[in-house]
């Protein structure tokens, strides 16, 4: 089975210059926990609701002036839409993460592929990803 068949496509993105409050508001409105950071068609990073609590608040950033680029994760692990889900699961396991950004062949953003998507394709693969993931209780 291919990533394309299970991934979440049409994901919202955010620009690196958006302030932290704006990013949090967008996540709240869209009901999402992560946003790809995109500028001029290029994916620069990813920001999560956890970043916007544990870094933005805990570190005392000015939420109205600090940009997303200041706290986003720049090293993003990606896979391709036409990859096999077993390959994607292996990538998650090796990096101890629960979601991947999915790129098209031209490296434009195709979507997100998370362990929640994976579980609809294989309980065994999803279980193995959870077991390997860095636990966040």
């Amino acid at each position: 089975m291919k990533v394309r068949e299970l991934m979440t496509s049409h994901v919202e993105s955010i620009t690196p210059s958006t302030n932290l409050r704006g990013a949090a508001r967008k996540m709240k409105e869209m009901g999402v926990g992560a946003l790809p950071v995109v500028e001029d068609g290029k994916t620069l990073g990813i920001i999560t609701d956890r970043d916007l609590a544990c870094f933005a608040i805990a570190m005392g950033h000015d939420l109205n002036s600090a940009p997303v680029s200041k706290i986003m994760t720049k090293e993003v692990i990606t896979c391709k839409a036409d990859q096999d889900i077993a390959d994607a699961a292996k990538l998650m396991q090796a990096n101890r993460i629960r979601r991947l950004l999915v790129l098209n062949d031209d490296n434009s953003l195709a979507g997100f592929f998370s362990v929640d998507d994976l579980v609809r394709g294989s309980h065994e693969l999803a279980g193995a990803v959870l077991e390997a993931a860095i636990p966040v209780h």
């Binding site: 979440t8 994901v11 932290l20 409050r21 949090a24 508001r25 996540m27 709240k28 009901g31 999402v32 926990g33 992560a34 609701d49 956890r50 916007l52 609590a53 544990c54 870094f55 933005a56 608040i57 805990a58 570190m59 005392g60 939420l63 979601r99 997100f112 998370s114 362990v115 929640d116 998507d117 579980v119 609809r120 309980h123 065994e124 999803a126 279980g127 193995a128 959870l130 077991e131 993931a133 860095i134 636990p135 966040v136 209780h137």
Partner: protein
Amino acid sequence: MKVQDIMKSPVETIASAESTKDAARKMHDLHVGSLPVVDNGQLVGIITDRDICVRVTATGRDAISTRVKEVMGKAVETCFVDQDINEAEKIMIDHHIRRLVVLDRSNAIAGFLSVDDLAKSSHELASRVLEATIPIH
């Protein structure tokens, strides 16, 4: 297998009168995404990194003056240390959640049980919990 065989223990907690900034800092330092809220030995709620993102970062409330009790979830699902993990799985599935606060038979907090912990003993159990919850991508 019993909950106590696979749960995380001990668990850090926070008091409801603490600031949300302190809660964010604690989650950051401890690498956790949620904290049971305990007043005088009583479990009164649970606060997650997402609560802080959508109710503090997104809203413009001040994280130092906003207390944990203002943004925490008051409905906390629990299980007991000596329950079978299949029963804990059923509680998670019925409530569409991925973690439970674990109590001992005197109702004191004994640990935390998450879908990640379930995955370590059974990929199948963990996968059923994932499928039953509403993913936040």
